[in-house]
């Protein structure tokens, strides 16, 4: 991450400086395709957002080891590369081990991503996590029920929203100034600080996408201040 998070000097169009590993995984993706006898499959993202990923897992019912994994991906070079690398990282691991792989680990494995591309890594980690959750639910492996909607859970979810200028999540950057939940209506106040206002729309869209997918959320309102 350290290596990848240097600022890119750019105007409207970026000069993308990908690492050798990113280019390698992008041009020669590993574990690409559909897993015919998958035990579970999850899709995340959407074509409208410009990135979308499907991950299928074959899991040993006794050891809960991931025996095989395959992905399909629609998105930019870093999206394809993060999907590829995360499948390599989880193959042969147990579900518990795989769950510990967070987005920054995938980015680090690629020797870093440009800050503006960090969210690709989030999508890969999230798709993997969705597949694991789905499997656990199907096989009664979940401890307790699903958590209730709370400001604390929403804050946890917001750790997946990356400030594209810095490549760091908005919670860590202390940009989240307030979260309120009332009858399924979630209000989130974001302080942009020194971040270029040009990123407002993409941060808003990301927050909406993530929070709306949480159970019990009817509406999300995102407010910005400097």
């Amino acid at each position: 991450m350290r290596r990848g998070s240097r600022h890119l000097n750019s105007d409207d169009v970026m000069a993308l400086k990908y690492t050798k590993k990113v280019m390698d995984h992008f041009l020669h993706p590993r574990n690409m395709g559909e897993l015919k006898d998958a035990d579970v499959e999850a899709t995340d993202g959407s074509p409208a957002c410009g990135d979308m990923m499907t991950i299928g897992l074959k899991i040993d019912p006794k050891t809960h080891k991931i025996l095989d994994v395959k992905f399909k991906s629609y998105g930019c070079a870093s999206n394809i590369a993060t999907a590829s690398v995360i499948t390599e990282m989880v193959k042969g691991r147990t579900l518990e081990e795989a769950k510990k792989i967070k987005w920054n680990a995938a980015a680090e494995e690629l020797d870093g991503l440009p800050p503006v591309k960090m969210h690709c890594s989030v999508l890969a980690a999230k798709t993997l996590m969705d597949a694991i959750r789905k499997y656990e639910k199907m096989h009664g492996l979940l401890e307790g029920g699903e958590e209730e909607l709370s400001a604390e859970n929403i804050r946890l979810e917001l750790r997946n929203i990356i400030n594209p200028e810095m490549g760091i999540d908005i919670v860590r950057l202390k940009m989240v100034k307030g979260i309120s939940v009332k009858k399924g209506v979630v209000k989130i106040r974001i302080s942009m600080g020194n971040t270029d206002r040009v990123y407002e729309d993409s941060i808003r869209e990301e927050i909406e996408e993530h929070v709306k997918a949480m159970r019990g959320v009817k509406r999300v309102e995102v407010g910005f201040s400097t």
Binding site: S10, D11, D12, V13, M14, L16, F26, L27, P29, M32, G33, A42, T43, D44, G45, S46, P47, A48, C49, G50, D51, M52, M53, T54, F71, K72, S73, Y74, G75, C76, A77, N79, I80, V116, K117, D130, P164, V198, Y199, D201, S202, E208, E209, K212, A213
Partner: protein, 397 residues
């Protein structure tokens, strides 16, 4: 094979242009403001360049202001013209950012702004435009030929309307210069932006045509250069190169346009044979620039395709959100009514007179190959069963 098809971004300089500039770096390097013979020599080069450029667009030499870029020319035109008390600026939804963002910024100075929409080919709604122009309007700014899809607006009609309503009219002709005949008198423009590095000239120089009766407010203060419109020691070599490129471009226009048109049409024909591909912008030759082809390859993301083509030696650009700093898809393609996913899958091929039919064939072959590869691994495909994303999309409604 190395193929450059990103000429709407910038172009290769002509060797004649480089040659013409050369002496101004090492021999004729005087400052045009100096009184000695070196200064006079440099001043003469600037004057000659100004006259040449003026001739290319049917203007008078004293109506040309050289700037540091077309972006600066657009800024000067907009900010400089909006000083006389009127508080409304009208533009289109498909302007280059050096017009669109400047006008947005004028809102902070208390200006009312109107962004006129376009039809699916990218043409400004002229009736809507006319309705919005009133006695409080300081300026109308409409791009001549669009930089992403190539749509050529009817400047003559807009110019006539603006004249009748006594409103200043600016147009950014950065992309159209030397590809479409430009006549400022016929167009009825008061201000017109020209670009050097898009016409095989050097970077770092642009120009603004200012009709002689128009009064602008100076934006760059200091010396008395450019008839006191724009301070700063002249980029003599740049101006000489710009004028040379313009002169050659206008002289060769007919031949070059015919060549680019033929290549471009062959390219479009070949690329549209790929399944699920669509052309963005106008189809017919008289409605669009001769050198731009903007095509969406559905179920493929543009940046990924661009990077793969780059690996094959091919340079193009994309309207995908992934390639923009703000992570938003092209505002031009959105204004045409394209869905986000269609904009994400778009590539812009822009040709120059240096391209060949061998290159066109190579590009078609490579695009076909890389699109197929990416579709093979794409999670997004035609007729894909209602998955998670669709449920979620519906939840968004």
């Amino acid at each position: 094979m190395k193929v450059y098809m990103d000429n709407s971004a910038t172009t290769r300089m002509l060797s004649e242009v480089v040659e013409a500039m050369q002496p101004h770096f090492t021999e004729k390097y005087g400052n045009p403001s100096s009184l000695h013979y070196m200064g006079i020599e440099a001043e003469r080069a600037v004057d000659e360049s100004r006259a040449k450029l003026a001739e290319c667009i049917n203007a008078e030499p004293y109506e040309i202001i050289f700037t540091g870029s077309a972006t600066e020319a657009n800024n000067l035109a907009i900010v400089g013209a909006c000083h006389a008390g009127r508080k409304k600026i009208i533009t289109s939804e498909i302007e280059h950012s050096s017009v669109g963002k400047v006008i947005r910024n004028m809102e902070r100075r208390g200006f009312e702004t109107v962004f006129i929409g376009v039809d699916e080919e990218g043409f400004v709604d002229l009736k809507e435009l006319e309705k919005k122009v009133d006695g409080n309007t300081a300026l109308v700014s409409i791009i001549h030929a669009n930089h992403e899809i190539g749509t050529i607006q009817n400047l003559e009609a807009i110019g006539k309307m603006c004249k009748e309503k006594e409103v200043l009219f600016h147009s950014d002709a950065s992309q159209s210069f030397t590809k479409v005949p430009i006549d400022v008198k016929k167009f009825g423009v008061d201000l017109l932006t020209l670009n050097s590095h898009k016409i095989h000239g050097p970077k770092g120089v642009g120009a603004l045509y200012v009709r002689k009766e128009v009064k602008l407010e100076k934006q760059v203060h200091g010396g008395m250069q450019e008839r006191n419109w724009r301070a700063g020691t002249e980029n003599v070599a740049g101006m000489v190169g710009f004028a040379k490129a313009a002169e050659i471009g206008v002289r060769e226009m007919k031949r070059n346009v015919a060549k680019m048109q033929k290549l471009r049409n062959a390219l479009v024909e070949g690329l549209l044979r790929i399944e699920n591909a669509q052309l963005n912008g106008p189809e017919s030759d008289d409605k669009r620039l001769c050198n731009i082809a903007n095509i969406t390859f559905n179920y493929v993301e543009g940046e990924a395709l661009l990077m793969r083509l780059s690996e094959q030696g091919i340079c193009v650009s994309t309207g995908s959100a992934c390639s923009s700093k703000s992570l938003q898809p092209s505002h031009v393609l959105k204004a045409l009514g394209l869905k986000h996913e269609q904009a994400h899958g778009s590539l812009r091929f822009s040709l120059s007179k240096f391209n060949s039919s061998e290159e066109v064939n190579y590009v078609i072959k490579m695009v076909e190959k890389e699109v197929a590869e990416l579709r093979k691994l794409s999670a997004y495909a035609p007729g894909k069963k209602a998955g998670y994303y669709e449920e979620r999309e519906q939840a968004f409604e």
